[in-house]
Symmetry: D2
Subunit: 504 residues, 4 copies
Amino acid sequence: MGGFFGTIQKKRCVEELFYGIDYQSHLGTKRGGMATYSKETGGFKRSIHNLESTYFRTKFEDELPKFFGEQGIGVISDTDAQPLLMNSHLGRFAIVTVARINNAEEIAHKLLAENMVLSEFSSGRINPTELIGLLIIKGKDFVSGIENVYKNVQGSCSMLILTEDGIIAARDFWGRTPIVVGQRKDTDGNIEAMAVTSETTAFPNLGFEISHFIGPGEIVRLTADGMQQLRKPENQMQVCSFLWIYYGFPTSIYEGKNVEEMRYQTGFAMGEEDDTEIDCVGGIPDSGIGMAVGYAAGHHVPFQRAISKYTPTWPRSFMPTSQETRNLVAKMKLIPNESMLKGKRCLFCDDSIVRGTQLRENTKILKELGAKEVHMRIACPPLIWGCPFINFSASKNVLELITRRVIEDFESGRTKATQLSDVSGGTKGDNVCEMEISDERLHQYAQTGSPEYEAMVAEIAKRLNLDSLRFTKIEDIIEAIGLPKCKICTHCFDGSSSHTINNF
Amino acid sequence: MGGFFGTIQKKRCVEELFYGIDYQSHLGTKRGGMATYSKETGGFKRSIHNLESTYFRTKFEDELPKFFGEQGIGVISDTDAQPLLMNSHLGRFAIVTVARINNAEEIAHKLLAENMVLSEFSSGRINPTELIGLLIIKGKDFVSGIENVYKNVQGSCSMLILTEDGIIAARDFWGRTPIVVGQRKDTDGNIEAMAVTSETTAFPNLGFEISHFIGPGEIVRLTADGMQQLRKPENQMQVCSFLWIYYGFPTSIYEGKNVEEMRYQTGFAMGEEDDTEIDCVGGIPDSGIGMAVGYAAGHHVPFQRAISKYTPTWPRSFMPTSQETRNLVAKMKLIPNESMLKGKRCLFCDDSIVRGTQLRENTKILKELGAKEVHMRIACPPLIWGCPFINFSASKNVLELITRRVIEDFESGRTKATQLSDVSGGTKGDNVCEMEISDERLHQYAQTGSPEYEAMVAEIAKRLNLDSLRFTKIEDIIEAIGLPKCKICTHCFDGSSSHTINNF
Amino acid sequence: MGGFFGTIQKKRCVEELFYGIDYQSHLGTKRGGMATYSKETGGFKRSIHNLESTYFRTKFEDELPKFFGEQGIGVISDTDAQPLLMNSHLGRFAIVTVARINNAEEIAHKLLAENMVLSEFSSGRINPTELIGLLIIKGKDFVSGIENVYKNVQGSCSMLILTEDGIIAARDFWGRTPIVVGQRKDTDGNIEAMAVTSETTAFPNLGFEISHFIGPGEIVRLTADGMQQLRKPENQMQVCSFLWIYYGFPTSIYEGKNVEEMRYQTGFAMGEEDDTEIDCVGGIPDSGIGMAVGYAAGHHVPFQRAISKYTPTWPRSFMPTSQETRNLVAKMKLIPNESMLKGKRCLFCDDSIVRGTQLRENTKILKELGAKEVHMRIACPPLIWGCPFINFSASKNVLELITRRVIEDFESGRTKATQLSDVSGGTKGDNVCEMEISDERLHQYAQTGSPEYEAMVAEIAKRLNLDSLRFTKIEDIIEAIGLPKCKICTHCFDGSSSHTINNF
Amino acid sequence: MGGFFGTIQKKRCVEELFYGIDYQSHLGTKRGGMATYSKETGGFKRSIHNLESTYFRTKFEDELPKFFGEQGIGVISDTDAQPLLMNSHLGRFAIVTVARINNAEEIAHKLLAENMVLSEFSSGRINPTELIGLLIIKGKDFVSGIENVYKNVQGSCSMLILTEDGIIAARDFWGRTPIVVGQRKDTDGNIEAMAVTSETTAFPNLGFEISHFIGPGEIVRLTADGMQQLRKPENQMQVCSFLWIYYGFPTSIYEGKNVEEMRYQTGFAMGEEDDTEIDCVGGIPDSGIGMAVGYAAGHHVPFQRAISKYTPTWPRSFMPTSQETRNLVAKMKLIPNESMLKGKRCLFCDDSIVRGTQLRENTKILKELGAKEVHMRIACPPLIWGCPFINFSASKNVLELITRRVIEDFESGRTKATQLSDVSGGTKGDNVCEMEISDERLHQYAQTGSPEYEAMVAEIAKRLNLDSLRFTKIEDIIEAIGLPKCKICTHCFDGSSSHTINNF
């Protein structure tokens, strides 16, 4: 996905900017960048580093003395190199985005025909941030330029723009990705600094308190004195539910709802109504722990850490792109605790099941180490639809989803819903589906409690060798988040947001 | 402290060695090194890197292709550069140690007088591993050489020696630091690889199972086929209790007892008998969490993560040497979760209290964010004596301990035990004690439940602005570890191991 | 100045491209870059490194395996980051330039008003190559785009463009900077590779022979089979005479005339007519040596190396930007040879005198080491006018020229032409002139043999403590180059090219 | 070979030490190191870097601020890592050597048997400097320790020792490698700094003047005030003649004789008596130029640079160890100047002929580029014996010498002395000799003017396709150096120093 941070202050902002960006590190793994502007010298300073084999802090710490200025923005990007610098009729600016553009080729084609230039293509692909910058420049001012982005981009796009007159923040038209504004007051109660962030986790240690959750399509400008609204928010919203389930750091807050609390409540609700007899509950680090803690409380069994993540050297939550390395990292970073497993009926919570490969491997190891039973509880419903809105890395290919493979095996008759099957039995070698399933039929599988749903869940449990498996219901997620259903995107569970693919 | 790992196999061992060493990363922050030997080429290969601003994996990953061989050792060191290579009448060998030598100057002086040479002094200090190597070479064989180390070193010393005929592992004469042997069998049930480690956390993901806990003073030799005892273990033992309380990764096992289990039991025991009314329990990451989880279960209140560690970029548990940076890291790495604190009576578990500075700061922030009450439970008794045995970094200067400062204030009359006082009130500006307190008097303060103990604890709670404070009793630690009291070193709590300072 | 190289072949071109660019290293010190294109994969690959403290080879050698393709271009740049990549209605291309744009601000302003974007401004200044790329894109095809550059740019601009259909080379409209085309034939006599370069020094070791000197304003396209002319050359020319005097590597050829030969002839001519009695002749490394060798032959005295450059670690001819470091480098890289100086009447040749500071310092050292006399012969006339055409680094500020300071001192009456004076005596502290001198008066000083010229040269010799000083006459330079006077730019000596500042 | 530098001053010496070491860069390519000592803090600081792919300056420049102290030593080593630090009964010291030890295994064996330790063997070989340090420590003081080195080492050894009481310099017992002492006086005429160096090239730019050429076996101690003799020099000497011919930088002086002067005289002498008709003379850079300049003067033909070395990026004179890379570097670094070759009868001077491969290749290229004739003059006699005294890299394997291959072909009858043959014709494929030739017979080939000598030279000329070839006579070298024949080692030309292999 990626995350960004910006701040504008009355004094040098570089070090705070650096820490603020660093706190987005769990959202991206590819590129890190920061740009600052000094009103005094009139100069911009920008730096970008590859983060695929190192950390933002390691790369940028030594460069900080070279930065200057009272305002800056930065990003941990999961895709392209950012921030970009642009000099245009709107003046000079730097821009960072959290975006996905499905129709990039089409937009690029249109822009080139209008004599515009794309300079960022050495990675072999179009840089989405550059496209967004060019769309903005086509406007007569920043607001009309950003509306140009809203109108043309299929996918999603939130952005920060560092101008010579403050920082402009513009949230995705449907509010799929979040932006939160914070302020810090001096001892006299006057605002001394403003900040804007993807993750509010960046605020407490820098002394900021949340002052505004930017709405869908809303555009604001930050100065060192406060915030000014440039465009009103839309009424509708489709904020991504996976922010709470998977992406967010436990201490972050979106739309007023804290991530850890949401996870705890989801777990608590399931724990309360679940009647499985178990000895202990654990979470798959990191994102499964919040739910597990809640589940333990709701189910009145002890939370225990039967699996630990070796954080001293495997700190990052996200994984490298090569599948082979992903598998190795997945194996090496989690360490099972034999002493707490032996002879126990263990229940684990995890955020989601994508391909299921790793979970099946984990279950096997847990049983080999002596676990009597292994039960799994998942923080969301089964993933059935791909995400066309944000770069949800886990579901790159919808046809690799374990749900889809099970459904195909059912529909093709390769697997009878009632028959026993091992995980590879019913599936073809390459683990990628090929059969076309009607959307109507998929909805039947997605319907909690339907015969298709029950057969699918049972089959997944069998294939993963689990003693039991349950998924959280959409309703429980909605309730835990606390927004109306219509404002939350649950597309990957129920395919409900297809109509929003064309903005505006 | 530091940790080491070695393995000898029938095939190339480099990659497994690398991961095995990496899993010691929580034990040291200064130097990382590895050495391998190839029987075929007869060559040793060694590399050492500074880890003060980067990670073992980052530094060594690119070098792996240059390494070769079927046997190797490595270390994450908290002090000196290791492994050292030595060519001697015992043949060529590489050596790593987990050691502290109190009488290094004296030993060095003796060795120089015998025409021996010390070559590692560019850091301005004697390299303990070099001293140990020279003491070994003075023996007619490795066993008599290692006994030479046992006889001469005041402090402690465990070591691995990579020879041309296998890996020799020798545990400290009093067993203060651990060494555990693991084996891996092929599908026919034959041993295909042996490993030896400070932390058994290194075993499960590399496929090793524990085959032997090396005893105090015991010496063994590993070959690819198994283990051979070169010297029987001593009967006495003084294994460090802080291994379980503070140093160990949750999944590690010493003397048959798992770290997380020990912490859980300690917490459970205290939770059960504690009658404080609270809303939730949390742990100060990382080492306080195991206890908190147990306390929650014993006390029947939910475990909740009201403080999170930002592991994506602050992965390491240990801290940099500059106090200023330590303070910054301490502040930035822990993120309070306002949503889970507001209006709550919170209880937190932590491993120990050293100077108390950071804890006082944390308490202040938690209350500012809305916590109604802040209670603290500590996984061990008050630290009153310094550790002369291992390099326990937390208590570099015994006179900086908050206990000592409180005791001095009591004894000098600066603080009346019954009077209210703030943390700095009774203490002199430099926060370092100057008064000589008799050992007898210190023992009175160390005695759980004595009037002096109660006054001291109450005074610490006051100074740290805590609503309540309790320390774990020595007896509960002993019980949780499960060894006889006489085999566990609890010197920093009760000064009981002074008589063992001279080995043999 | 900067230099570029490109090649297009029937097989992988990466390694040859790398060496070809490396051979431009004496022309620039700031940035090095290369870009390649593979017809097969359709991909561009680009990399740019800062060369201010390291070498092109060091930076790029490890990256070569990541490059691919059969055609590529690269540059050693003395100014901005290159090559730039651009995707436009002309297709995708990479571009490198050897350029100086005096009216960059004005062009940028015009482009921004037309909704174009400048993205390269993090260095705080406009990137000339980006401007040139945008001017090209405004054309309907490459040729009309490049003519757009010719029309708009005040200064000079030669360029290489790597397109999907071959490499386009376009020489500066006035031919101020050179481009030479080379070809390589296979054993059957068929062309197997084409190359294009600033310096023909890149050709012999890569097996290319010169096939065409691109003319002023000429545009050609190279394919692997040969060269196609896209625009005819202009008749007029103003090729920079400093290419032979100072910039070029001895083995390079421009307009058919070899650098070393030109220097030798210049020296020979002066040596022949000079009647100074001396014992030996030496050159100030590197660019003074060619002239010295010729002078020795013409004057019938031995050439001797009484000063050596310590090339093992001071390889580069050009200097760092900080004046302090320039001075240190200037001091450390040249080593006087006391044994060859003592008691001798030495004559040295150097390329030019700019500020004179370093030469004065050298003379002082030579005399201290025992040289009986120190005579100096300069490879060009006195520098009196600044260069508005190429980035001639030596004369950044025309008012720092020693000629100008002497002229000002004469004209202001501070120095009498006949009076003795030391170098700082007549000049004000900051060594920068402030007085306006009429162009007519400057021409009188520039006129070889005029009373003003003689007085100026005598005064410079006095200030530098030289026993005699002579400058080469313009006519001798013209003759040595072998082109008509009207085709050679000698502006810095005689101010003769002012009328060409506006192109086309 | 390697070179070292040391200095002791009344103020911080670090920067001067750094430049002084840097000026040894032409003597080695493998490791660079420096060590300093501060009397005030009592601390040693040491650093060593690999120089195989970078330069001393690049590696050490950034580290300088971490160094401290008023005295220091350093080295550019062609073999092992240096300086070594040793703490012993002689106190702490750092040591650097320019040494070759033929009997290293034997010495190591003896030392290990005496319970001494060798710690530097990770490179797979014994570190000669460590052996030397251990031999010194076996002495009761430094002088007797160094005599221990003189007695035991077969080969050669000069050294600098940085002690807590000044710098000790000890020259090889036979004086094969040089050490020169320099002093610098303040404006009052008092000594303010002393320095000691392999190459006096390091002196002029640091302000030192030569005060003493250390004699064979002589030992001195430097303090900031001056020099004190600890051991008198021997009368005999065997200083290496290749110092002047090949190793030395032109500005260096050994035994009072300047390198460039010696080369010039050698060339002049040959030029005077040579009657070959030629058009110009050039030198093969770098070491052939001095001779060429002299030859031109003696022969009354112009010196011209028909071949240039591309110093901007190929600065180092010595070559990498891989033969393939050596060949590539050899090809790429020298650039022929076609314009100066075409139709000319060219004569080139070079330092020596080893295997002849490169020279044959160069001749071929020169002729292809149009040279009418190519004559070669060599600065020394034919190399016939290997060097057992210093690490003369060029003759690693005596049987690869072109002389030996020609001699073998003659002696075996494969080549008739009178018959025409091409270079590979008479020789077996692997270009390594296999036949045993008696020493007596070799002496006949070595004898200038003997029939065997003439046949051998003629055959080499044929194989290298040269129009003529002449070698300098031993007598001319002796005369140019200016020492008695008995004091100069000319072993590789006449096998005359075999009796000195056992020292003392």
